[in-house]
Symmetry: C2
């Protein structure tokens, strides 16, 4: 097993990330302060190219490839933001990305990956089938397979953690949505190394509690997964991110899907940002645990904004 990432890895990722994007802002909205009765700051990862924090990880991963690996291209599986991130980073470095998606994947996200120049291959009926298959394809073609929690991805996404501390050195609590865990791990490594007094809290949907239960029980748990939030829809546990979370995470809460939808509406109203369900999970968690947050300086990571028009219509109806 590889050693645990450190803040040094994250500092080293910065030039690779900032070559292609600017730090998105940390904004306050008085309506959200009033709702939570705290000093609430949104870290706007939904303002990134491809609309999600994951692009930072993709850029760092691609920058670290050898010339041979670049020639062989990248292979990964995704139904959403991860695939767009890899496609964006591959295009930025002029290398080829091949992304496996399950049959019936969201046509909007497929079009976005193709629009970024990636080849999209349909295979199998779920993400895991597509992922196992594309890993074999990568091997046959001497390409590089990218898994969802590969270390360079954690190093890259951790750069937003540094930005939070730099923008708000007095931050007291950071709440981060958890899918496979790269975002919360990068954030927790940064926050706890710089100031162990900062509380880092993960949030997942109660309709996809696998990562939360694995963290709580200290062993890999598989569970039901019926959430509407694609970005939180983890069916299995990931060993490397669980190891980091076991060491650094202060708390890990579950919120109902209905609370995610309410948080999407609240973010539209008070911040005028379109946020996907996963990205709204941090606000949903803050509202759920608001008695712990009173008058504190709280950063909510808005991890992504890729809500489809169909879902938007359902949510605001």
């Amino acid at each position: 097993m590889s050693s645990m990432p450190t803040i040094g890895d994250i500092y080293r990722a910065r030039p690779h990330v900032y070559r292609h994007l600017r730090p998105p802002p940390l904004h306050q909205y008085s309506g959200l302060n009033d709702l939570v009765q705290a000093e609430i700051y949104l870290k706007h990862e939904n303002h990134q190219p491809v609309g999600a924090f994951k692009v930072r990880g993709g850029l760092n991963l691609v920058a670290g490839l050898s010339q041979d690996q670049k020639r062989g291209g990248l292979f990964t599986a995704s139904t959403g933001n991860h695939g767009q991130s890899i496609a964006f980073a591959a295009r930025a470095h002029n290398i080829k990305a091949t992304i496996a998606v399950p049959v019936g994947a969201n046509p909007g996200k497929v079009a976005a990956m193709q629009g970024l120049g990636a080849e999209v291959l349909f295979h199998g009926n779920d993400f895991d089938t597509a992922r196992q298959w594309i890993a074999e394809v990568a091997k046959e073609k001497s390409g590089t397979f990218v898994g969802p929690t590969d270390a360079p991805l954690i190093h890259g996404v951790g750069t937003y953690g540094l930005e939070i501390i730099e923008d708000l050195p007095d931050v007291e609590v950071i709440i981060v949505p958890v899918g496979a865990g790269s975002g919360v791990c990068g954030t927790a490594i940064v926050a706890k190394t710089i100031n162990p007094g900062i509380r880092v809290i993960g949030v997942q949907s109660a309709q996809a509690p696998t990562m939360q239960q694995s963290w709580q029980q200290g062993r890999p748990v598989e569970g039901p997964m019926t959430t509407v939030a694609e970005g939180l829809a983890t069916r299995i546990s990931f060993a490397n991110t669980q190891a980091i979370m076991a060491r650094y995470l202060d708390d890990f809460v579950l919120v109902e899907d209905s609370a995610l939808e309410e948080a999407v509406r609240l973010l539209l109203t008070h911040s005028h940002n379109l946020v996907e369900e996963a990205g709204a999970a941090s606000l949903a968690a803050a509202l759920q645990i608001k008695e712990q947050l009173q008058d504190k300086k709280v950063v909510l990571v808005v991890s992504g904004g890729n809500l489809s028009p169909e879902r938007l219509s359902q949510i605001i109806r």
Copy 2:
């Protein structure tokens, strides 16, 4: 009459603006490229604090006040983004802002101004009445009245024009929504000074054509104003911005309100950004004149994102 602003004024505004905000990104979305059949970039002024480009102008104006003026406070009239901008800048410099709004003003925007610490006073039934009144109040109280096209505002908002050129030196066309004209004037001064070959095109609603008709006829025209787009809802012409537009603007198009609403929907679908009607005007114009834009590098200024939940529901229904 004061002399016309120059690019030097805009360079001088930068440190005042960047003390409080970061340049928002210039993003491409393949779906928009396909729609217009051009290389389309969105300048995301909707990502600013207070959700609109005007905050740049407010910050520059406040930074230039004397100690006496700061003590006297700022007085202005607004029904929307201008008032939030002045409130934000005043708070950043710890001075008082008093904003007159017409009776019946949008409660969400009033709450946002108050949330930024401004005192909001209701007076009269329309913007012009409120504005004339608050100018008198400012005089009585030895405060500083801020008009919508004051020179420091133009200098401040022009900073986004510089960012566009720095991010995309080969830009060929820039399309800018026009209300009172500060944004398009700042942009045009920058673009035409650096490269007269860049086409700068303004856009207003056909349901509020005053500024466009005044530009076209070369004399101040007043006209009907029934647009749904608050940010384009100009009923009168402004002499200082008209003088700049007469010198620098290449074209000025009108789009129907229905096209603004369609552009809001397209931006939600293809960029996952919530954009207000005025902010979507640049895309509406690009679609209207797409035969002139084929394969060109085109920047659409997305001037603001403050769409209310009620309007969003109406537009996507």
